[in-house]
């Protein structure tokens, strides 16, 4: 008998995504319709435009995904319930409910952050185990202690900007297009990370919270004094400051909470410097590392399907009466 098949929809921000997952590892399809070109001209995501596009794309992407499977094979339907932009969330969440009703299958609303948190375990034979997870993206920067499925302890989080947001804001200061994170990383490859001494926000705070707004401000105050070819060095120095704080706090949190595994997920976890430095630091500390597959780091429905599969397996099903929740808590 084949393993259960989950169909998942993700529309928490500006990506319209549908995936079908059989078991923990057999990804039958994962489709993402990006709106990045639409929002680039505004310098960020416009919620109303995102919502209109989700609705326009939902029908085609859903029908396309369903060409990969027989409908009767779907055992469970899931969709992202939150957190995210409400006007975006409600499109995918309602479509998921409609699909579940039509197929007469259970419906599971998934926390977007749970999707990220579990994504480093995607494809593994066993269910996710106790670990310290760093979720780092344009909207979130947090350390989450994964105790068991559905049992998550928030260890620390940013008090102002998310790390990815800081990347985008610094990119904007440099006149780089949105989204700026990947461009900063590319420029940083040829730069000197020690040329500019940027602050390491809250590194000695004694807790596991983060702050990146001071770093962004430091870049802003430094910029007017710079002349010549400084971009690569500035990007490298800025990136080094972000990565050092993320890595040191993650390792410290893992030790404090006696987690033998550290994980990293979310859009910024694609950053090669972060991945390399985290692997090295974890190795020195005797910790195992699980990095989310780059394909699962930006918003996608495969990670939602994976989280839904785990919940479906344990009978942790949702309720059709639950509504999309832009502030949906994971802990």
């Amino acid at each position: 008998m084949s393993e259960p098949t989950v169909l998942a929809i993700e529309t928490s921000c500006d990506e319209t995504a549908v995936a079908v997952l059989q078991g923990r590892s057999r990804l039958l399809c994962s489709e993402v319709a990006s709106q990045i070109d639409v929002h680039r001209s505004y310098g960020g995501v416009v919620p109303e435009i995102a919502s209109r596009n989700h609705l326009a794309k939902m029908g085609p992407i859903l029908r396309s995904a369903l060409t990969h499977i027989q409908l009767r094979e779907v055992d469970c339907v899931s969709a992202t319930r939150g957190p995210g932009l409400l006007t975006s969330l409600l499109v995918g969440y309602a479509a998921g409910k409609g699909l579940a009703i039509g197929l007469d299958r259970p419906f599971v609303g998934i926390n977007h952050l749970e999707g990220h948190l579990l994504s480093p375990f995607f494809g593994e034979a066993a269910c996710p185990v106790q670990s310290m997870g760093l979720i780092v993206s344009g909207g979130h920067t947090m350390l989450m202690h994964l105790v068991d499925l559905g049992k998550y302890i928030l260890v620390g989080q940013t008090r102002d900007d998310a790390a990815g947001e800081a990347f985008d804001k610094v990119a904007r200061l440099l006149g780089l297009p949105y989204p700026g994170g990947p461009i900063i990383e590319r420029l940083a490859e040829s730069g000197d990370p020690d040329r500019y001494k940027f602050p390491r926000g809250m590194l000695a705070s004694g807790d596991f919270d983060f702050s990146f707004s001071g770093l962004k401000t430091a870049v802003r105050y430094l910029l007017p004094s710079l002349r010549g070819d400084f971009e690569a060095d500035l990007c490298a120095s800025f990136q080094a400051a972000v990565v050092e704080v993320l890595v040191r706090k993650t390792i410290k949190a893992a030790k404090t909470f006696k987690a033998s595994i550290v994980t990293v997920s979310g859009g910024v976890s694609c950053n090669q410097s972060l991945r390399k430095n985290l692997v090295e630091a974890a190795s020195k500390a005797g910790l195992a590392v699980k990095l989310a597959d780059p394909k699962l780091t930006t918003d996608n429905a495969a990670m939602i399907a994976f989280a839904a599969f785990e919940r479906y397996q344990r009978g942790m099903l949702g309720n059709l009466e639950d509504e999309a929740d832009p502030n949906f808590k994971i802990h």
Partner: protein, 188 residues
């Protein structure tokens, strides 16, 4: 032909199930979260429909999107067509006008003759609508509208919309009437 109709353009939503020209089931609800459960219960009572009709407004953007997306999901599961129909046709009377608050100092107005729209709903400023009041006869107000009192408040119903077959379209996209509201400046 069995039809299920979803109307959710206002705070008072409704579902109707029709078999040919007979309404055989109706349900009304007052929050979007109840739509899915109500729809599930209705389909358990009546079985699968042959087509889906959804009210496309004008009205609450969120309500319209929830209805359209639910219809899309249902249609994908049952391999059915989704028809859109202007929600303002969801009244029993054959001839009337409808006015609704469109925010930021405007109202939308639609006029219906012989169960059909005379023209697509239009947006006009509050004061302009007040000046044109004598042009309209029976006016339904969809909810309260600041500064405009005295109209019977009435919302469209799925059990009326389901029979406006001549106005069904292949598009389920809400009648937005306005460009997306953007607060930030567009980067050249």
């Amino acid at each position: 032909m069995k039809t299920v109709c979803i109307e959710n353009s206002t705070a008072s939503g409704s579902l109707a199930f029709a078999d040919g020209n007979q309404i055989i089931d109706v349900f009304e609800f007052s929050r979007s979260g109840a739509l899915a459960v109500s729809l599930q219960n209705m389909l358990k009572r009546q079985g699968s429909p042959d087509q889906i009709v959804v009210g496309i407004g004008p009205g609450s953007y969120s309500g319209l999107r929830v209805a359209a997306a639910t219809a899309l999901g249902l249609s994908a599961a049952l391999n059915l067509k989704v028809h859109g129909c202007p929600s303002v046709l969801g009244y029993e009377a054959p001839e009337y006008s409808v006015v609704g608050d469109a925010r930021r100092g405007t109202v939308f107005v639609a006029t219906v003759r012989n169960y059909k729209l005379v023209s697509m709903p239009i947006l006009i400023p509050y004061d302009e609508f007040q000046q044109q009041l004598s042009n309209f006869e029976l006016i339904y107000a969809i909810g309260t509208i600041p500064g405009l009192d005295g109209f019977p408040i009435s919302v469209p119903k799925a059990q009326n919309l389901v029979f406006r077959t001549e106005s069904f379209t292949d598009s389920y996209e809400p009648l937005y009437l306005k460009e997306a509201h953007v607060t930030g400046a567009k980067i050249p």
